[in-house]
């Protein structure tokens, strides 16, 4: 299937593959051939009931018709729209799929430029943060500005004062000489400092994104760390070229170390056997294996391809900041900023030690249902007198079986969520056309 194919295009391709005439499929679906023609050319949106009917007529799962490689592209374009200047003409959000269908090259270019802009904005933010808070940089710059101030002021006195006493002249000459040495030393120290930290530290990705890119490349399964012969986590991380910055390597080493411990405690054969015997409920698996629930969450989300690829995992700290993100198909994760406050993850964060099972429905043109298991627990690395360090986690699995009506409506993040009736909304959505309900 072409990378840029959309729902309408997929309907058309499938119909032609089956040798169906447009009129026949239209009749089966209860719509006019003209309307089907508009759909097939991505000029009309396909509501869920019609999508289900068309999918049945074409012998496909509705998700297969609705979901394609362009989802990420549409997500990128929505982010671009979200960043549009208030003074600019509002992008036609409702025609975003038509745009992708008719101008796939331009759409990819725009999404690519949006990603580049976002990356550059993050780099500026990181550098700004660094300028403001890096004590070495701050001290070096202060030293340079002080020396420059002294040189400038003293040189102006010498240049602009016709009759200056010899004692003052000698003193100012000496001051300028000393300040010039001080300035050159401070400048050399600054250059050396910037050179030493140049690799990756000022790069365009955050450390967490570097780690996520590395894990995504492995499918989140670190095969080298499975088994008793696994190398130390630091050695594995040292070989990962994707991890450019020291900060990313630190995060990755902590992750890989925990992965290695989990793998030793629950070897692959053991966890897959337990998954088959107990089903996906992590609490049942934890009880059967007598292992911590959090470790079971992590193991289930890092099974090799074919055994756990559909299981996503997000974790957050007590501030709600996402600290680990493994996406699940159809469950879009925000690239920047905060996620949807209605995610069960945050409910679990508010209720430590209480396991929470919830079915959710992700906002989108075709809704995706998921079964989530969430849990949070405090750790006490500083002992009884230290602050509790809380981590919450949420496993994300595709929901099976018919819709129950009890699914919790959720979104990705407020800005790109079209749910008009959400009581937890933080800010208006750029997709402001959705009807409540």
């Amino acid at each position: 299937m072409p990378r840029t194919a959309l729902t309408g295009t997929r309907v058309r391709e499938r119909r032609l593959l089956l040798g169906l005439k447009q009129a026949d499929l239209a009749r089966t679906a209860g719509i006019s051939p003209a309307y089907l023609n508009l759909i097939e050319h991505n000029r009309r949106r396909v509501g869920e009931p019609l999508l289900v009917t068309l999918a049945a007529a074409l012998g496909l799962d509705p998700a297969a018709l609705a979901e394609g490689a362009e989802t990420a592209l549409i997500g990128g374009l929505r982010e671009a729209a979200a960043g549009a200047s208030a003074a600019a003409r509002a992008p036609e959000i409702e025609r975003i799929e038509e745009f992708v269908g008719r101008f796939p090259g331009w759409a990819e270019l725009l999404a690519d430029r949006q990603a580049r802009i976002a990356a550059l904005e993050r780099a500026v933010e990181a550098l700004n943060e660094r300028m403001a808070h890096d004590p070495h940089l701050s001290a070096a710059l202060h030293e340079i500005v002080s020396a420059v101030t002294s040189v400038r002021s003293t040189a102006a006195i010498l240049a602009e004062t016709d009759a200056i006493e010899a004692v003052w002249r000698r003193r100012f000459h000496r001051n300028i000489y000393e300040d010039s040495i001080r300035l050159s030393e401070a400048a050399a120290a600054l250059v050396a400092y910037l050179d030493s930290s140049q690799d990756g530290e000022t790069g365009l990705s955050s450390p967490q994104e570097e780690v996520e890119a590395w894990l995504a490349a492995t499918g989140y399964h670190l095969a080298a760390l499975e088994g008793h012969e696994a190398p130390p986590a630091a050695r594995l991380v040292a070989r990962a070229e994707e991890l450019a910055s020291d900060a990313a390597r630190t995060i990755a080493t902590a992750h890989a170390g925990r992965y290695r411990d989990d793998a030793l405690a629950m070897p692959l054969a053991v966890i897959t056997r337990a998954l088959a015997a107990e089903g996906p409920d992590p609490a049942r698996i934890a009880a059967a294996l007598d292992r911590p629930l959090a470790a079971v969450f992590r193991r289930l989300a890092t099974l090799p391809a074919g055994q756990g690829q559909e299981i996503g995992l997000v974790t957050c700290d007590a501030s709600g900041t996402l600290t680990f993100r493994k996406p699940a198909r159809g469950f879009t994760l925000p690239r920047f900023g905060a996620a949807c406050p209605l995610w069960p993850l945050y409910e679990a964060l508010a209720r430590p030690m209480v396991p929470l099972r919830a079915e959710v429905e992700m906002d989108g043109r075709v809704s995706h249902r998921f079964l989530t298991y969430s849990f949070s627990e405090p750790r006490h690395p500083g002992g009884f007198d230290g602050p509790p360090v809380i981590e919450a986690m949420m496993l994300i699995l595709p929901a099976e079986g018919p819709r129950t009506g009890a699914e919790r409506p959720i979104g990705v993040s407020c800005r790109i969520c079209a749910r008009g009736d959400c009581l937890a909304r933080r800010e208006p959505s750029i997709l402001g056309t959705a009807e409540p309900g």
Binding site: H142, V148, T149, S150, R152, S153, A156
Partner: protein, 120 residues
């Protein structure tokens, strides 16, 4: 009678240059290199104006400025704040600075600003 300005600046070469240009403009200049010494000196000498650096050893310039403005007997003394960090401008003004000058400065800038805040 020459008016008196208290200069609080820990960089000796900058202090020397400022001392020279203000003296040349008719001011009597007393200088100190720390915030603690400056507060005592202000109470003792009651200067007509202060030229105050932000980054000082020990008690910082903004804190010292706050102390001065909290003291009814000293609050009316005009204060000209110097800093290498222009982002300190907001903090300085919030603390009661009469003028903020970013380093590096032009000598004329200091002279004109001091005349302005201290009056004719």
């Amino acid at each position: 009678m020459a008016r008196k300005v208290l200069l609080i600046e820990d960089e000796p070469h900058i202090a020397e240059a400022i001392r020279f240009i203000l003296s040349r403009d008719g001011w009597t200049v007393a200088s100190h290199a720390t915030g603690h010494a400056a507060l005592d000196a202000v109470r003792r000498e009651r200067p007509d104006a202060l030229v105050l650096d932000v980054i000082l050893p020990g008690r910082g310039g903004i804190e010292l400025l706050g102390d001065l403005k909290d003291d009814p007997a000293l609050a009316a003394i005009p204060v000209l704040v110097l800093s290498a960090n222009s982002r300190e401008r907001g903090r300085a003004e919030a603390a009661g600075a009469d003028r903020f000058i970013a380093k590096p400065f032009a000598n004329d800038e200091i002279v004109a600003a001091l005349r302005e805040v201290a009056g004719p």
